[in-house]
Symmetry: C2
Subunit: 441 residues, 2 copies
């Protein structure tokens, strides 16, 4: 949708809201629908091709209004999480439509999803250890718990450990910044030898530092064998798995207990919308369920999911609406195309870097992130970034792997084109030339 | 703003957004401002009377755009939290403008604020106990920690305890459902005699069950003496403290370490917007700060607050904008008037209940919530609620204190008037008459 169409559609929405406000007293106070009503009204999967604005907006009255805020808010979220899960080709166990214990939920951020999965893992382990050894107190067990992630993982994993009072061990990665199964297996043996209880692994697909991928096909069997909760954080990279050519990066997801991707990062959904799927949601619900008389007056009697037990806050926003709009207005094809463009820009930039002998690529360009640096000291690269900031024409964020400082290039704007890539590279090379000249004298 | 004006203003905003999108490439990539720039551009306090739409919307370009998302998002939030804190007559220690360690932050829900304050309390206590006795391990200390709230507190306090692995003791309340100082003092003595370490008290101002108020003037000195973190949860009731006649309910806030109110509940701000103030924010920051190289490239060198260390997620939305709009478009007077109307409706309903000898009031009507019941068994009152739900003309939620089941009436819609109160009462009495007649035969 371009700005011109946004002017028209936006104003239609303003009128819709005003009409609603003016007539809200004529609407029923209680929805007349039965829990589960929405499944009959919506297709089982997202449309392959884009739908028209009229079709999408018309469904507000047809699909949402009869179910008002409740149960519509919950039911649309359940259906959207199934749609998105199918787009990602997640194993059916993760979906509501399997009829099992699996399902998805929208959270605000990947940090929250990592934390709640760690808490569920902790709870599961306490129950198991207590059953195995009733003499142990909860505190005894907690003191021995340990979780793992790679030294490339996001700081939110360490934070989750701090909040949940679970020690997190950072494990070294291979030359591709990937955490390997053998490294994990050794760490687990070491922990157990120290009397610790391994409970949780957070694997990252698409690290923030350099968009590296942990090897979940190797990590998965270790987690299964050692009965550790495997959480996959694919916050940025996960959206790309809707393209068949990138889906291989998710091989091994069948071993995971939970999987997270943030459609607000690479799938055109506005912030915040972080999607989490669980293979067995009862493990989360059992951790979070503190029922209060105030909240128990008329539930859907087990027919619908009670998302308040799936998260830290109790109240919820209607975030599935924006996911519904994006999936239908673009269609699966349109979103795949969007991601392919994003990756194409990265490779265009990569090619430019490779043709300039003063520069080098750091790591591999797999999706939209290009890590690069001058073939020079860290100090010179830091100076280059400072000049880019002072110049003010483009914005880059640096990173470091081991002792190697580098710059990160990524195309973020949905309206960006090849000319922006070329412009950015022209700015970088111009400033690099000046810097290297100044350095000489 | 009525629906007719919303049509006009909403469409102006749509055009503003479209203009922004069409011209965003002409705007500077980096803001040209210095950290702290916004304080010079905005008044030190919220306006007493409503400002015009033109003045408010004009400030987007004047105040926000020069600071873009960063630092504008942080700086507006700091200023709004000071504005709101002054409206509530919070001690200056809680405000940024004191120049000390105090300040406020917007979170998504009261559940989150309770949790992060509990985590900060836990961290503070671990540091203190370790210093006092270096032989103790963190796990030893954690196993002994205990927090307190009343048996009327929201389930989110118990959940926070579960998440943070801190045992929470529910304390009995007096005949007004108020937690008293002596009760807490006794509980603390008992805990200490059992070898436990008291670290946290969550006092509630305006409980969800019946809008009861804990006695913070009594609880405060106990917390100070025992070096426990005192958190005040005034999620619903807190907004009322902007009216001088209700401010007495907050007496004792000077003893608190943290104070929470949710302007999305009673101050016309849309969900979500939950405000938290801390007397010493460094206690929170020290708990949450896990710095990553990615996030450290150009900070405001201590001149601005780094809110990512004040919350569970790292990313943030620009929620202070809606607070800014509401405070200016209504003015302090307008919001006070709104709250007074809300309370007036409650008293109007209370009077109706008191004039019907079949009914009784439960507890006290202090703000907008009226708790009432038929002078009959719980079963009959449960039947009345069932008939109200089946009837479908109004919506009520029940509650229970001890063994007494009752119904809760509260006016929520900003557009509600006396006629809605009268209508609701007519429905309730009609259905009660039918019920009591059916019961007789």
């Amino acid at each position: 949708m371009d700005a011109a169409e946004f002017r028209v559609r936006g104003k239609e929405i303003v009128d819709m809201v005003a009409d609603y406000l003016e007539n809200v007293q004529k609407r029923p106070v209680y929805p007349a629908v039965q829990p589960g009503y929405m499944r009959q009204l919506l297709p089982e999967a997202a449309p392959e091709t884009a739908e028209s604005w009229e079709d999408v907006i018309g469904d507000i009255e047809r699909v949402i209004m009869p179910g008002a805020a409740n149960p519509a808010c919950t039911e649309l979220e359940m259906i959207m999480m199934d749609w998105l899960g199918k787009m990602l080709d997640l194993p059916e166990q993760f979906l509501f439509c399997s009829g099992g214990k699996g399902g998805g939920v929208i959270q605000g951020s990947s940090s929250e999803t990592t934390l709640i999965c760690l808490l569920a893992a902790r709870n599961q382990a306490i129950l198991r250890e207590k059953e195995a050894n009733p003499a142990l107190s909860e505190a005894d067990i907690m003191a021995k718990m340990v979780g793992y992630c790679s030294d490339q993982a996001h700081s939110s994993v360490i934070r989750a450990g701090l909040f949940g009072a679970v020690k997190i061990v950072l494990l070294p990665t291979d030359e591709q910044q990937s955490l390997r199964g053998e490294t994990l297996a050794h760490a687990v043996q070491k922990s157990k030898a120290e009397g610790l209880i391994p409970i949780f692994v957070c694997a990252t697909l698409g690290t923030a530092f350099s968009c590296a991928f942990d090897n979940i096909e190797e990590l998965g069997p270790v987690c299964s064998r050692e009965r550790m909760w495997l959480h996959i954080d694919a916050s940025y990279a996960g959206s790309a798995f809707i393209c068949p050519e990138f889906r291989y990066l998710l091989s091994g997801v069948q071993f995971a207990d939970s999987f997270n991707v943030s459609p607000h990062k690479l799938m055109r959904v506005t912030f915040d919308c972080s999607a989490l799927w669980l293979k067995d949601s009862s493990k989360l619900v059992n951790t979070f369920n503190v029922d209060s008389a105030l909240l128990m007056h008329h539930d859907g009697e087990g027919k619908i999911t009670d998302y308040r037990h799936w998260q830290i806050p109790l109240a919820r926003r209607f975030r599935s609406l924006k996911l519904w709009f994006v999936l239908r207005l673009h269609g699966v094809n349109g979103l795949q195309e969007y991601i392919r463009q994003h990756v194409k820009f990265a490779h265009e930039f990569e090619t430019l870097v490779l043709t300039d002998r003063r520069f080098e690529i750091v790591g591999q360009v797999v999706l939209g992130l290009v890590c690069f640096r001058l073939k020079d000291s860290n100090a010179v690269n830091e100076q280059l970034l400072q000049r880019i900031i002072q110049d003010g024409r483009i914005h880059l964020v640096p990173s470091k792997i081991g002792n190697t400082y580098f710059l990160r290039f990524v195309v973020c704007s949905p309206d960006a084109g090849s000319k922006n890539v070329q412009f950015a590279w022209a700015v970088i090379t111009e400033l690099a030339t000046d810097l290297l000249k100044d350095k000489k004298y």
